[in-house]
Subunit: 242 residues, 2 copies
DNA sequence: CACCCGCTTTGACGCGGGTCAAATCGCGCA
DNA sequence: TGCGCGATTTGACCCGCGTCAAAGCGGGTG
């Protein structure tokens, strides 16, 4: 174990990409080691957030994108009528803040659902470097495109009018995203409250709670508070199909 | 009026950006005239689509993005269970095909709702040119970010559980998008069927039909088939707030 | 250990919107 | 002009989910 030298620790913090577990999912994916170093130098800092901390607020000026290193966050927007809508739940390796690009200001707020850490990417730097590192440009686009794909999944889920189908689709999708991170696909730990989940699904929290119970009675899942075990993936998929 | 010379016509087709009505909304926005010419040369072709024609299919390999020049299109995806979900309706100046970037293949299909034309942008060219034209890169990001913002609006709408609020929000949003194009904000010509609209809103077509009637009875709009006139914007907004 | 408070579950009830059915409209085509 | 068929409207019925209310549960704090 190295001596507890702050200077060395700081240096480690600034050379993490090459050793980060997420390097194959994150911006450095597919880059050679020299380019990974350039990305590493671009990362302004790696911030820790406590549960409930806000990464950025809707309306605040846009300066940087963020890649989630650990933990999970939710994004939410307030409509003109004052209604809150949760837009998404975000896991490690995902990029956040992109919707702010069109208008110079963040369009939604991002809040940590648990202790989390993110890598901050000042956008001016990202633009500059990606002009000279073609692979970075491409990987960046991939991440953004994946965000868009996740949004489309969300819409498809909201389009199902059977409430239980929405919950099943949500669980299935979370399971896939967990697996993408190399975690167990069958044992989920939900980090959002029932109220958050209900809002995300376009339901009320009582309905979500009842549906968890019903899926459990059907033998499809096992629920204990925020721990969910998927017992029968095939049934889960078929419930998702209405 | 010039002689009907095909060679000159073809040349005009290839130098359209500078004279296009949409140049301030589209990729050339903010570029100087030399850079606009480079964008112009990048446009592979400008394709005409008849109503019902498909621009690209889900699953087909991704090669190009498209900017809508005139008309309107819908994008739709088929979920694992075979359920169709309409993801969006797209108007001139909007960019399409972006969600394909993550996986090399289109994730959804795009179909013309009326006679339409699009500018095809081979992605390889776009990548190459945007590395040397910083303003293009920035404007491209803006367009993509705007698409994402539209998706978020869609989700917020689907989250409202009152059906009439969804329809009101949809009409309001279409009105704003029409206005962005310099068209009348109060006189909408919907190009999608009631079935498409219902699917998009997460409702059934009978409900949509009834709600049009109800908004008309309330004096908020005037409907005649696909022609909608907004009579009372304030009421429309308040209905959208549930 | 006991209290408190937020989160979650469970129950009862009513209505909004889905489902099924049929009529009407209106455009395209002969 | 008349026919045919898809698109849209309208009606009747009823079930799923939202609403209101109250009880459990569990974790944090003094």
């Amino acid at each position: 174990m190295p001596a507890n030298n702050p200077a060395i620790d700081l240096d480690q913090v600034r050379r993490q990409c090459a050793r980060c577990d997420l390097r194959d999912l994150c911006l450095p994916a597919g880059l050679d080691s020299a380019d990974v170093d350039r990305v590493d130098q671009m990362v302004a800092d790696r911030t820790s957030l406590a549960s409930g901390d806000t990464l950025y607020h809707a309306g605040s000026p846009f300066r940087a994108l963020y890649v989630i290193k650990s933990g999970s966050l939710k994004t939410q927007a307030v409509s003109e009528g004052g209604e809150l809508q949760i837009l998404g739940f975000h896991l490690p390796g995902e990029i956040m803040g992109f919707d702010a690009l069109a208008g110079e200001r963040h369009q939604c707020s991002a809040e940590a659902l648990e202790a989390s850490s993110v890598c901050r990417l000042p956008y001016a730097e990202l633009e500059r470097i990606s002009a000279s590192v073609p692979g970075l440009q491409r990987q960046f686009m991939r991440l953004v495109s994946r965000e868009m794909g996740d949004d489309h999944d969300h819409m498809a889920m909201m389009g199902r009018n059977q409430a239980i189908a929405r919950l099943a689709l949500f669980l299935h999708s979370m399971s896939k995203r967990q697996a993408r991170l190399g975690r167990s696909a069958d044992q989920l730990t939900l980090t959002m409250s029932r109220a958050d989940l209900a809002n995300y699904l376009g339901l009320v929290l009582e309905t979500v709670s009842r549906l968890f119970g019903r899926l459990q009675d059907m033998g499809v899942i096992e629920v204990r508070r925020r721990e969910v075990k998927i017992l029968d993936r095939e049934s889960l998929k078929s419930v998702g199909e209405c």
